[in-house]
């Protein structure tokens, strides 16, 4: 609108102060402008602006911006299109959740060879942005077009992080911190030794926080071959890195760190063999701090405000890195017996807390079970979900059902169910037997759910976690009347089940 520029300049300061610069335009536009009566300067300027504006609009040629074509790569294997009737269901699943149902939908489509509908790609990517555990399912479902799309939005880079095998090294060299972490993790899964060498080379140049995050990647495929590196990292400048290494070493019962700790503990533990009776165990923590312990990150003074005295604090730190098998071998006692014994000593807080940490580090199923049997719901030193997640699924369901039966009040029921569901990886379902029993319990507390928001959420989560074989039974037998919130819960359960039924109906 070239003529408008000069007019606008005088209009800005006001024609009262500066007479309008009459635009001098060639051709038809100029000819039209010349017909304007300029007696009233303001009116004439407005008319000229109007003529130019309309002509500019009518003759508008959109600006040319050469951009490189950026085409989405085609999927290599031919994929089937999802029937249009299912699109609103997928839309609903992405918007309403729960994440488990999203994982199921994404997994189901990917396994059966369907293309995730293009229009719903942004939604699927948003789901993965919100829920980290869902990301592998998102990446498996969205195909090449989804990965192409994710590359254009910085909040979806998780889906492009390591898109294809062989890309890790490139990403490791040039990627952002998050991408490098993902690349290192992926490489660890394929070639643990090669990944360790990458990490070793990177340590001198990385910042403290980045170093700690990268060292934590060694969790994947951790083995005694990583020990020499981890031992040197116990002397790292950063406390975060030192702690991460200590944790990793403590989780390997065969590590020399664990042996050193066991040696220290051995000096405190006395086993008295009594004739015809089981051994008697007694413990006496060290009297003085040995400066050599500092090399294994044992702290001399307890943290401010802690309930521990200095000796208990040392005991706790030593015991947490001692293999749990060592206790069993030393005492010839079962985990249950050992827990009973620990509670009878003067040092029970330190010992039980150390064991709770060790159970988690070493992922010892028998100990997790012992803890679950021993502690009532409210007083575990470890959150129940962690303990349950250590157990293999069958044992986990058994323990959770036992806990639920013990509780009368629905609050612990929903807490336990929540733990059970949290420990269940996305993409997996509960066993038919356990789910059927839980369903009976849930139906029993349906009325209570009217006042309990958490419980209501559990119902829906459960509907997504129940096995396919239970879906028909679960779809029936709900009351037709009740308070609005109960009816709403039922309708959400049925919606989730309907979604799942339709997904299973897709031919593979």
């Amino acid at each position: 609108m070239s003529g408008l520029d000069s007019l606008a300049a005088s209009a800005l300061v006001g024609t009262g102060r500066r007479a309008p610069d009459w635009p001098d335009l060639p051709g038809e536009v100029g000819a039209t402008l010349s017909k304007i009566d300029r007696e009233n300067a303001e009116k004439a300027a407005l008319q000229a602006a109007g003529v130019i504006a309309v002509c500019a609009l009518a003759g508008l040629e959109p600006p040319t911006r050469m951009t490189e074509a950026d085409l989405s790569p085609e999927d290599t294997s031919p994929l089937r299109e999802v029937p249009a009737a299912l699109h609103p269901r997928l839309h609903d699943i992405c918007v309403e959740g729960p994440a488990r149902l999203q994982a199921e939908a994404m997994g189901c489509l990917a396994r059966r060879g369907y293309r995730w509908p293009a229009r719903l790609l942004p939604m699927a990517l948003e789901c993965g942005k919100r829920e980290q555990a869902l990301r592998p399912f998102v990446v498996a479902a969205i195909g090449r077009r989804g990965i192409w799309l994710a590359g254009q939005n910085s909040s979806w880079t998780y889906a492009t992080g390591v898109a294809e095998e062989g890309q890790e090294e490139e990403t490791w060299r040039h990627g952002t911190h998050e991408q490098r972490k993902a690349a290192l993790g992926a490489m660890r899964g394929r070639d643990a030794a090669a990944a360790r060498i990458w990490l070793q080379d990177a340590i001198p140049t990385e910042g403290a926080r980045e170093r700690a995050a990268l060292v934590a990647c060694l969790t994947i495929g951790l083995s005694t071959e990583d020990e020499p590196l981890l031992e040197t990292l116990l002397k790292d400048k950063s406390k975060e890195v030192r702690q991460t290494s200590l944790t990793l070493l403590s989780s390997m019962p065969g590590s020399s760190l664990c042996r050193r700790m066991a040696g220290r503990l051995d000096a405190c533990l006395t086993v008295t063999k009594k004739l015809l009776r089981s051994a008697a165990l007694s413990i006496e923590p060290p009297e003085a701090f040995d400066p050599a312990w500092a090399g294994d990150l044992i702290e001399e003074t307890p943290p401010k405000g802690s309930k521990y005295g200095a000796r208990a604090w040392w005991l706790r730190q030593i015991a947490r890195s001692v293999p749990l098998e060592w206790w069993e071998a030393k005492s010839s006692m079962t985990p249950e017996k050992l827990l009973d014994w620990a509670r009878s000593t003067d040092w029970k807080d330190a010992i039980v807390a150390a064991w709770a940490e060790a159970v988690q580090l070493q992922q010892k199923e028998s100990w997790a079970e012992a803890f679950l049997k021993a502690s009532p719901v409210e007083a575990g030193p470890l959150p129940f979900d962690r303990l349950l997640s250590i157990l293999p699924q069958t044992a986990r369901e058994e323990q959770a059902l036992a806990l639920m039966r013990r509780s009368v009040d629905p609050a612990p029921l929903s807490a336990t169910l929540s733990c059970l569901l949290q420990a269940l990886p996305l993409g997996e379902t509960l066993s038919h037997n356990a789910a059927a029993q839980i369903l009976i319990m849930l139906r029993g507390v349906l009325e209570v759910s009217a006042y309990d928001l958490t419980l209501r959420g559990q119902f829906v989560e459960f509907a997504a976690a129940a096995p396919e074989s239970l879906i028909d039974a679960m779809s029936k037998g709900w009351p037709a009347e009740g308070s609005p919130s109960v009816l709403n819960t039922i309708s959400r359960i049925l919606t989730v089940l309907d979604h799942r039924k339709d997904l299973y109906r897709l031919p593979s």
Partner: protein, 445 residues
């Protein structure tokens, strides 16, 4: 039959479609039945009597006995969705007595209206011409007073300078806009609002403000000599001022075109609880474009539903002049899936059409645009490019932009939208020429 997505697009708001999805359990429906073009069902609500729902699929037209004022209500939407998703749950047969009652009543109403229309058309005796002329003169006088006032206002602004316009309070614009509404010149008031938004449009605002002030001035000049203008232009000026020919006039005098109309796109806009719906239609044989405007207060509730990607056999009456505006005289059948014939890939046809439209009516503020384009995001905004050269700014919500991008895969896809000269508001998109509708606008900007 519509697809589930098209049905959900009929929902008056998000909560309706959400509630409808909660009713998709056949167990909640003690009765579900279907006949050739009708489906009906009884839905158990919170009360003791179930709600009775009937849908005439030809419209689609909905009827429900629930007290909701939303239209279609959640029960109607759910019934239609069930039909699509669980056809097996419907029992084929003659409509239930209550459904039949509604269908017959509706039929009778339609016949009565038809008869009445025929009667008035036959015996149409225009009301007292003198009284009508007097009313016309009075209204025109008020409009001319409003025009004179806004003309002085414009000239004062020019004399004093535009520099402080962006910092003016809302009340400054409100005062002038309200005076013009009082003068029954809502179109002029709309132009004042246009200037206001141009003043707040960032870099380069003085040119945009001046351009709109200038077009308003041309409109004022035209009102001043309305009697001298050719008839067609006179209608356009009256429309632009906010004094268009009334419905009855358009139905009586407008040019009637009967044919199959393809629904290209539908846009909704709300201002102070008044909803405006713009339906863009394209004649299947005449290729003529029509704009059907509807207004609804409070709720998005309209008598006739239009679904992009379907077609309606209807008679339209085009308002005189060139605003593309048309009224629906009658709809004979509707909701057949039918893909529109889109213009060739080059944008030139759309650009040329826009240029000749403006040449005939320089006060048009939006006109239809269709062409193949690559949607992409650059510098934080969305653009549509014609095979990576000419490009237009897209007026689109971010989530919609990403959906378009995903559908395109980086290739040019057919897009239909409203073009306002500085941005294209996409309304409908297809994954490929001849394919079904892949996208309609979901979020307004």
């Amino acid at each position: 039959m519509l697809t589930a997505e098209q049905i959900l697009a009929l929902a008056p708001d998000d909560s309706s479609s959400k509630s409808a999805k909660g009713l998709l359990n056949p167990a909640k429906w003690p009765t579900l039945g279907s006949a050739e073009t009708t489906i009906w069902g009884e839905c158990q609500g919170s009360g003791s009597n179930p709600y009775q729902v009937v849908i005439d699929l030809g419209g689609p037209n909905f009827k429900c006995t629930c007290p909701s004022r939303k239209f279609p209500c959640k029960h109607g939407l759910a019934l239609y969705l069930l039909r699509v998703q669980k056809e097996g749950s419907f029992k084929a047969g003659d409509p239930a007595p209550w459904a039949l009652e509604w269908l017959n009543a509706r039929q009778a109403r339609a016949e009565k209206a038809e008869a009445k229309k025929a009667r008035t058309e036959e015996t149409a005796e225009p009301e007292d011409p003198e009284a009508q002329a007097r009313r016309e003169r009075q209204r025109l006088k008020r409009i001319l007073e409003g025009a004179a006032e806004v003309e002085r206002w414009l000239q004062d602004l020019m004399r004093q300078g535009l520099a402080d316009l962006p910092s003016r309070p809302a009340s400054f614009w409100q005062a002038m806009a309200a005076r013009l509404v009082d003068a029954q010149a809502t179109g002029l008031s709309h132009w004042v609002r246009q200037i206001q938004s141009a003043a707040a449009s960032g870099d380069g605002w003085p040119q945009r403000v001046l351009a709109r002030m200038g077009r308003l001035q041309l409109l004022l000049d035209a009102i001043g000599r309305l009697d001298e203008l050719p008839e067609e232009l006179r209608h356009d000026v009256r429309s632009a001022v906010g004094y268009p020919m009334d419905k009855e006039g358009v139905l009586r005098l407008g040019e009637r075109v009967s044919e199959t109309w393809r629904v290209l796109g539908v846009s909704h806009e709300e201002s102070e609880r008044l909803w405006e719906r713009r339906v863009w239609l394209q004649g299947a044989t005449s290729r003529r474009t029509a704009l059907v405007l509807d207004f609804a207060h409070g709720q998005r509730r309209y008598e006739q539903t239009f679904v992009p990607g379907t077609s309606v056999a209807a008679t339209l009456s085009f308002a005189p002049g060139f605003p593309l505006r048309a009224l629906v005289v009658d709809v004979r059948s509707s909701a057949d899936a039918m893909t529109p014939v889109l213009e060739e890939e080059s944008w030139d046809a759309s650009l040329d059409a826009a240029a000749s439209a403006l040449a005939r009516n320089p006060w048009l503020t939006r006109w239809p645009f269709h062409g193949h384009a690559v949607p992409s995001r650059r510098d934080g905004g969305w653009f549509a490019s014609e095979s990576s050269s000419r490009s237009l700014r897209l007026r689109v919500a971010d989530e919609d932009g990403w959906q378009l991008r995903a559908i395109s895969g980086g290739e040019a896809i057919p897009i239909f939208g409203e073009w306002s000269g500085d941005a294209l508001r996409p309304l409908t998109a297809w994954a490929a020429r001849g394919a079904e509708v892949a996208w309609t606008e979901t979020a307004s900007v």
